[in-house]
Assembly symmetry: D3
Homo-oligomer: 280 residues x 6
């Protein structure tokens, strides 16, 4: 299976049946991202999304220091944030910037659009893009040493690849979101846990990754029809009224309820054995 | 008053003036629901909604073991989840499933649409449908022994009568919602309290029910114009922008502010006595 | 700078560069509001919004007893809540009430629409309108002695100048919102902190105000392009889907990323010195 | 089949296989509606919606003078529009009016919610409620003699059972909608045709009804899976963005495309014969 | 009455009871607009909106040549479109432009927000801003000689004070809207009539104005509760789903139906006399 | 320029500066589409969207008989509509169908997302997919001989790549849309013109293509900043409220108004010469 994936900036392996583990692999630069990396990330999650051998995914960062320190500012200042674009007309420059930001956003959104649940295990520096990326995932774990910040204001810009749109819908404390996003201050694992940004804090990075893989394995043992429907319906509902959520759910389940997984699951429940489900 | 209600699967009584107490009454089967029950629930709340003798409602479950263990899976596997529907064409089967799920959703939504506040007091097993039902209510209390689960994934399906649409709008921890909805794992009263799914935890079921009735009685002592407006405006605002919320509020209150309850309440405040309000 | 502002019901001063401190100044009446006060508040925040000498704003209440006890009920019962409007036709009365409520809402919304971040420091009685006002701000701090209530139901009406539309989007505990809004009960600083209504609790009012000014000063030291964009994008995203949030962000930043603040900020970061940013 | 329907205020017959013809039957009072009539209308369309023997529906009015002259004002002035409601408090009166208007709206909306296409054939006076009712249908035909008016302003009220919400989404001339709705003026068949309110004008009522039945019969000869999906997807799309329309369509068709009707239709096309489709 | 209005750039008179006639009064410059004019327009319509002596409004342009040739480009090139803004930073320039465009939009929107119906009578050159302004009104009439154009593209910009947001919702021919907005070509009265941009074409300007005043007078003779409700409910419905439209209508009418105008109108109908309605 | 494009199923040429002409090139099969074709179409429009040498695009069909007869049903019945998918589980089949329909929709939407205006010139058979494709374009022209149909119902399915979501927002006659979509009947050029589906009808295909190229050339002569902004703002406004449209417009133009095209256009207007605009 793994042979079909050959990313350049990420490690990928399959620690359990149906579980993929993606590792950001640029530890010498604190896993900071440049354009080729986020483009590859987008392609990787598009592929994972429809791979029948994958039912749940874990993301973590290589090395001991950082999940990711965010945007590689040096690279960005020669690209996205560069003042010497070819265009001199501010309106034309704006068109190019809009396209670039849009393309970057699409790569980050590939995690949300991925049909399989994605669990992030963070540690060390988890700045800027770390918040954007993990906010696009489904569940967030972290190690005790993690240091978070919505860092963008400190480099003169409003975060633009997802944090400002997703973070307030993930945690239920809008004042806290404004505080950290406006001040760019650091916050730690306990604070992240208390506002619900992460669901669990582990002693070490290794344990956080192990915990994430265990949750992924548990999810991967369930009916993929039920799991993927649950992810989709939760994401749809976040952006729609309750009534639109209910209607979409009824339409979605009018096909999904015809699965044989329901019978398999019910029967396994009665027989106290682990069900197996057809690939998806 | 009580004589006008004669539900078959629920007990109903009126422990205080203006307070109705609805009890799910199938304790021998852990208060598990089958179709006739949810249809009756829908009719019951439609009636309570416009009954001028009712100003607040409490829901609990009969018996010591469960608020409700959810869908009666045996009954459902002969009905909703049955594979041998009369239709063999998957598209026609989908139409029938969509109608059935829609009808089921409407019954659950009758709690939300009920013009009077609804407080749920849970205990014991509170699985699957228990989450759907209580998410459609206004306030949730529980006993210390309550064991919750968004159980649907374990029977091969995505929850479809409200949990996935309402739960993320009730608690402010989207990662937690995804965790419990994707893993179907059990969680207890303390966890439910810490994420805000329930507002209070009581030592016993009896105390939870008593607490719910006390809150209901407190609410029932207020102006019904003010209380019912508050429920409606909060529910509308959840599904609309702040601006649409403000506009709807202004239009709503352009009639509601003409109530004599304002004068009654103000006067009672000055005179330090309990106001009485005309029926509604 | 301060000479340009001469509000009648508020004190205004500038404790730090780029920081404005607005104090509700009617301490003998517990800072209760009447119409002329909220009209002035609206004008004040419209002016602050585009004043290039202001980058962050703090609101607090004069005196030791109250941030504000809310609506001046006596004044209101001769105006907004008066039963002897000139119109006798309920439909015409409704038109006048709708206009008055709308005008009142606009004044409160001026805090949200203000392009600069607004931090509220509350103490003592913080009832009714106190919740509406502070919910329209970005960050809320309070002193240990603060006593909050969504008080409106107790005077026979549903809160109509923002609480019901904004509060559920600020805290992630919808059951709690319903509880306090339906029961009108008092709650204290610790409870407000635990549900995320306030971000920090201070020992005294003085410390709360000092803390708010410090946060304001920190925010005011950042790029105003980045800070104001962050406030706007967070507010937009609250009321839109993630996708609409991302698109709006890309369009917004297509102009904002052309700022020289990015270079200033990056350079200052490298040179370990405090950047200065052009007025805005 | 017809034996299952026994409406009191409507005639119903089945002029062709799968086609139901509903006739408003109060010709002596110009088919004017009172409450019992609209309640029956709602029940009738709920039943038709899921009747597998019905695939398309025609509505017309009995007698030569009117499709319907609208609300029976005499009856209404003793009910809905009555000034001597039991409640004297304007806020309580408002609650009762809101419930009554809501119930009336639901009856009219039953035409839109009916899963089968509905074609209206109008003639003579088609006033007030005639516009509300026909706007909730899918296609509108009329006789040359039809006299239309959005009449409500002339009796002192804004139309409230659908015209103001649906008419602007049916015709593409918002100025015309405002003109006729604000002035309450009469307009004839040609004007209705030119703005697209009706699709065809016939010489006589009889021909209009015949034309409607022919279109209904043509639609009824198609795959009911395809026809009902088309009605639903058009109605959904009217109220959503293009993107939400596309997504909902993909989810809907993921079940619908599994129908054997596609093969039947394709095969019939090749063999140049009329396909038959399983009931739905 | 007229003495209360003293606009500088507009004439205002009251040709009939309850009818106001506003005339753009800068005929020597083809009624082209500069900033002070649109600010005054906004104030004027805010005042008319709540003036109980006004129930319908007509807008036309002074002189024989133009309703308005749009923006006064010479003035604008020193202001809004000027390249030498004080700010040199493109991001700061963007902030100023956004505020200016927003302020301009608010002035145009005052026509839409005006609670009374507004009828526009156009003639001669009706370019650029003429389309923005008239699209914010309720009904559009024109003289045979009118020459329209969505002219903005020809001066290097996308129309930004309303045309692009409102025009597609006024006419039901999106291809035509794109054609005229992308090409900036001229179109005449007949074309405007055929796509529904104007409702009637008159031989001369005088007749167009006369026709507009007659329609205004007709509308002004109806119940103001009914008329103003109709305008509001149509505008709300344009921007919301049918369901949200119905709900808002029910809430709105729960106060409006309590008007005595209903009885007056019904009685006048029976007695065949003209009703009179209390001021609003 | 043309050398950079080498589509297999389409011809592409550049009849005028900045104008691209795309021709569907499968005339022997009536330009019917199979999967490889729509995938290529999607890529082609993605490339055209950001090609600075292209400012407007024309689409037509090769040969004399058809713009396109729609889906190649033979090919589709082995793919998308095939009953023998690898999956036997209806829920899994639904997942695959949803992905395929989604991918197909994305290709059609590439025409709408293309930043440059797209004009379609149709002739002969223009069935099924012809309506989906052309509805995603900006302006539609056709030859007198064109025969249109929303054909999908006749092959047992609801149209699912755009017609049902876009057509009702293009023409202002919802009854007509329902009529043609439910009956699948043919309609001609005159009918298409009268409802506004096409903007102009030409005697022959050649003239239609020539007319389209002329309009494209006219649009291409304007400021690309203004033209592309106009397309984007019209598309955004279609799917949003007027207020959201106005706000987005103000933000968009805060960058776009900084273009030097405004000065170029103004100056050229004064000097009566054709302006030239920098590439975009």
């Amino acid at each position: 299976m793994a042979s079909n994936y050959s990313p350049k900036y990420f490690n990928i392996n399959f620690p359990q049946e149906y579980v993929a583990h993606v590792e950001i692999n640029r530890p010498n630069q604190l896993n900071a991202f440049f354009e080729a990396m986020w483009l590859e990330l987008g392609q990787l999650f598009a592929q994972l999304s429809t791979d029948p051998a994958v039912r749940a995914i874990v993301i973590s960062g290589a090395g001991t220091k950082a999940f990711t320190a965010g945007l590689d500012v040096k690279a960005a200042s020669q690209g996205l944030l560069s003042s010497d674009s070819k265009a001199s007309d501010p309106a034309r420059k704006a068109v190019h910037l809009r396209r670039e930001v849009g393309s970057f956003q699409d790569c980050v959104s590939s995690i949300e659009k991925c049909e399989k649940p994605v669990i992030v295990a963070m540690h060390g520096f988890s700045l800027g893009l770390a918040i954007d990326l993990s906010s696009a995932a489904d569940v967030r774990f972290c190690a005790k040493d993690t240091r978070f910040a919505v860092k963008e204001v400190d480099i003169g810009l409003a975060a633009d690849v997802g944090t400002l749109s997703r973070l307030p819908k993930i945690v239920g404390n809008y004042g806290w979101v404004k505080d950290v996003a406006l001040s760019a201050r650091l916050f730690g694992a306990e604070e992240a846990l208390s506002v619900g940004f992460v669901s669990r804090v582990f002693e070490t990075k290794e344990e956080a990754v192990k915990g994430a893989i265990e949750l992924a394995a548990l999810i991967a043992s369930k009916s993929p029809v039920a799991v993927q429907g649950t992810k989709e319906l939760l994401n749809w509902s976040r952006d729609h009224t309750v009534q639109d959520g209910l209607r979409y759910t009824a339409v979605w389940n009018s096909a999904a309820l015809q699965t044989s997984d329901v019978q398999s699951a019910l029967l396994s429940g009665i027989q106290k054995r682990k069900p197996t489900f057809e690939k998806l």
